[in-house]
Symmetry: C2
Subunit: 471 residues, 2 copies
């Protein structure tokens, strides 16, 4: 039997003790015969695994950093060589094999600060930037810092429901309270500040709320938060003295016309100095998402603002225990933050590759919601951003009973049946949290367009069969 | 003022608010004039930062993995190309940009298992191997797993004194008890099982001891544990039901004639099935030390044996929260585990580069102990292995009083004075723990031989001046 952990990971899902990989690839093998020829993994946001090609300039820089003798050879553009040389000059012994500063290589943090200045039109300080081993590590470090508690009262952290389960896993490991606030599915997964107030009011009786996490664009929900909503959240956090963790790793993944990414930092700035100088804010970004899709490099950074000096010293101590993030991951962050400029040899190819990825994602976002919504019993909010659809599915009462009889949650049963019958791997909504009595699944929009069409058709056909079977 | 944290990290030490980098490089700058022209950093085990050159084959494999178009070009040996292709074939989408399995890339874990089989002559199973983001992450994960505690009694872990401070930092963060057992400086930092018994007996009154950490070869102490001592430790752990964490990251760094690295796994095996099949053991290794010195790649692995199925499931859950270790770090582990073989094009250069690093380290280990021991008031055990000397220094009572007056520990005062007067950066023994009333410092043996000689001469001259001043 396949577990939720398996569906949420890159492990190949198994069923009945037999590896899917072996059982579905050949219908004549020892495994049970499966009614499909291939598993399509739409369960995790792993773009390269789904066939996305790496950005040429980035990989050239990595190769040159790894093997500096290539700097002497032909076949690499000058700007890639210069970039590699700049990174190497910032490494101890001019080698990516030395430890960097725990907070990250100085020139990379400088480049991130300049990137943020271009993005927001506001001054940024390299000293506020912390490079991490993927944004996940940044999130875990921040939570560790914020919930550590000498006293008897447990700390609490507000997290969206549905949420990316890194937050619930980290909080549970840290022994802190998960204060789930529900996003409003009826309003395109909007964040309602009244819901924040409701949850906080109740939470104050049992714990000490410290922080508020917002994922924008949303994972697994794909909404893009509007400016007004961000203002409301900041005002709320300011009133209640909460630290804001803005998970903005999908900031480059905005597709829907009329939607725009607004950074918490920019909105905070625009609200005036009484906010800008007081509200504690961390914003996270990653090389794993966007158009790079470089999950394997484990590159990411966070910008942390308005941290009191003592807390900042604690943060520096925390990050120094892990010595440093992987240096080539840091080089990947550098390319994210400082892409080739107009007039440089790699610029046009870079733009072409970037736009090709983003345009394809935009088409797939539209297609996914359209095809899912064309099916009775499936309702999907528009995929405005990020890389996922989180459709709501109607599961008939008889199917719910059947799931219970098998000891499964209804949406887990649904997803396992989908996997068994079609080879399509998605994650049940219960893995992210969902309003009681509703059922969802999360699927990525990452498979190549042709494959995505097949996948969606199969899902809708499966849903019709499933609904009829348990009608 | 420079802090212990700074001395233990790759941050450039500061003094009096002025960066050393700027104040000592030019004696005409704004900083105070310093009586030296260069800071020599002997504070951390960062080989490349000290000028060690990377292993050519490894870097070729990394470059080829990053930039597979190089596979089509000349200028790379066939075995490097084949290795890169093999790793790429094991990556989702044939790209190092995809997530690997949380436990690590299958073929790398296979190569580690074969490496362990060659090393120990005992079967090894890729399923027991967990790749990590440097061995440090492995240690933290293991400790998290072992000390997690639903109950009211605190968990305790036996750690050597002196110890590498990752252990104390991690245990303190996890809220577990540090049960320090003292290594016997008078017997070359030997581990005495009676000391383990003494510490454990006392500890059982206040906490629940779960695990025993051994660092072999020793950090900061440089001793190589003999076979008999390992047998005693295993017997003790078996009797007391303790999990053994064998930090064996310096297994390739053994220099002293007559010394040999014995893996805990091999000794466990040789003690017979009643031990081999029951004692829980994790052994860690890293790409940061040895002769690769690739700290920046954050590569490492652990082999975990005899873990009950339920605990193993917990471990798998823990490692999956961080998604996966950096993929190029995993490729680095692959080269560590599976170097070019005799007859392959890269073999002879690899052997030559490896031996050159190890021979130089052996000369420097000998030189360091010799020169330190030639100084009155400094006593240094032989540097049998690892990368450090941990000499004991006599600090005169008047210097101890002066340190107290300045609010410093005596060895911290000593190290800061050394830094002020000579530009040599070492770490006070108090950062690692030491027997009450004794004082030490840790220095690496990594600077190039000529520079190491200068460093050691300056240290001995400083010691003489310091002793005379406070006589």
């Amino acid at each position: 039997m396949c577990t939720l952990g398996e569906l949420l990971s890159h492990r190949t899902p198994r069923t009945g003790g037999t590896s899917w990989r072996s059982s579905c690839r050949t219908s004549t093998g020892k495994g049970m015969e499966k009614p499909f020829s291939e598993v399509i993994k739409a369960n995790i946001g792993d773009a390269h695994a789904m066939g996305q090609r790496p950005i040429t300039f980035l990989r050239q820089v990595l190769a040159l950093c790894a093997c500096p003798e290539l700097l002497e050879r032909d076949g690499f553009p000058e700007d890639a060589k210069q970039r590699a040389q700049r990174i190497l000059q910032n490494c101890g012994g001019v080698s990516i094999g030395s430890y960097s500063a725990s907070q990250g290589i100085a020139c990379v943090r400088e480049d991130v600060a300049r990137f943020l200045e271009r993005r927001d039109g506001i001054a940024a300080n390299a000293d506020d930037i912390y490079l991490c081993t993927g944004a996940s590590e940044g999130v875990v470090t921040l939570l560790k810092l914020l919930v550590s508690n000498g006293g008897r009262v447990r700390s609490g952290v507000l997290i969206p429901i549905p949420q990316y389960p890194l937050y619930s896993a980290a909080l549970s490991e840290l022994g802190a309270e998960q204060l789930g606030y529900e996003l409003d599915e009826g309003r395109g997964w909007a964040l309602d500040v009244r819901e924040l107030r409701r949850v906080l009011g109740r939470a104050r009786r049992s714990c000490e709320p410290r922080a508020l996490c917002v994922i924008n664009p949303g994972n697994p929900t794909g909404q893009v938060q509007d400016r007004h909503s961000i203002e409301e959240v900041i005002e709320f956090a300011a009133e209640e003295g909460l630290f804001i963790i803005a998970d903005e790793v999908y900031q480059d993944n905005v597709y829907a016309p009329g939607c725009q990414f607004h950074s918490f930092k920019k909105v905070l700035h625009d609200m005036g100095p009484e906010y800008e100088q007081t509200v504690q804010l961390a914003s996270l970004h990653s090389t794993s998402k966007g158009f790079l899709g470089e999950c394997g490099q484990r590159g990411g950074y966070m910008e942390v603002l308005n941290l009191p000096a003592g807390v900042k010293a604690e943060l520096v101590k925390l990050v120094s225990v892990r010595l440093c993030p992987p240096v080539l991951g840091q080089a990947t962050v550098d390319v994210l933050a400082n892409p080739p400029e107009l007039g440089e040899p790699s610029h046009s190819l870079y733009v072409q590759e970037r736009d090709s990825v983003l345009r394809s994602l935009a088409r797939k976002a539209l297609l996914t919601a359209q095809l899912l919504n064309g099916t009775e019993g499936i309702a999907c909010n528009p995929v405005q951003g990020a890389m996922y659809a989180f459709p709501r599915v109607h599961i008939p009462p008889r199917a719910v009973a059947e799931a219970q009889a098998r000891g499964l949650l209804p949406d887990m049963f649904y997803c396992l049946q989908l996997l068994e019958e079609t080879g399509i791997c998605v994650v049940p909504g219960s893995g992210f949290g969902q309003k009681d009595g509703t059922h969802h699944f999360r699927m990525t929009i990452l498979p190549p367009e042709e494959k995505l069409k097949i996948l969606l058709t199969k899902v809708t056909e499966f849903h019709a069969r499933f609904t009829e079977l348990y009608a």
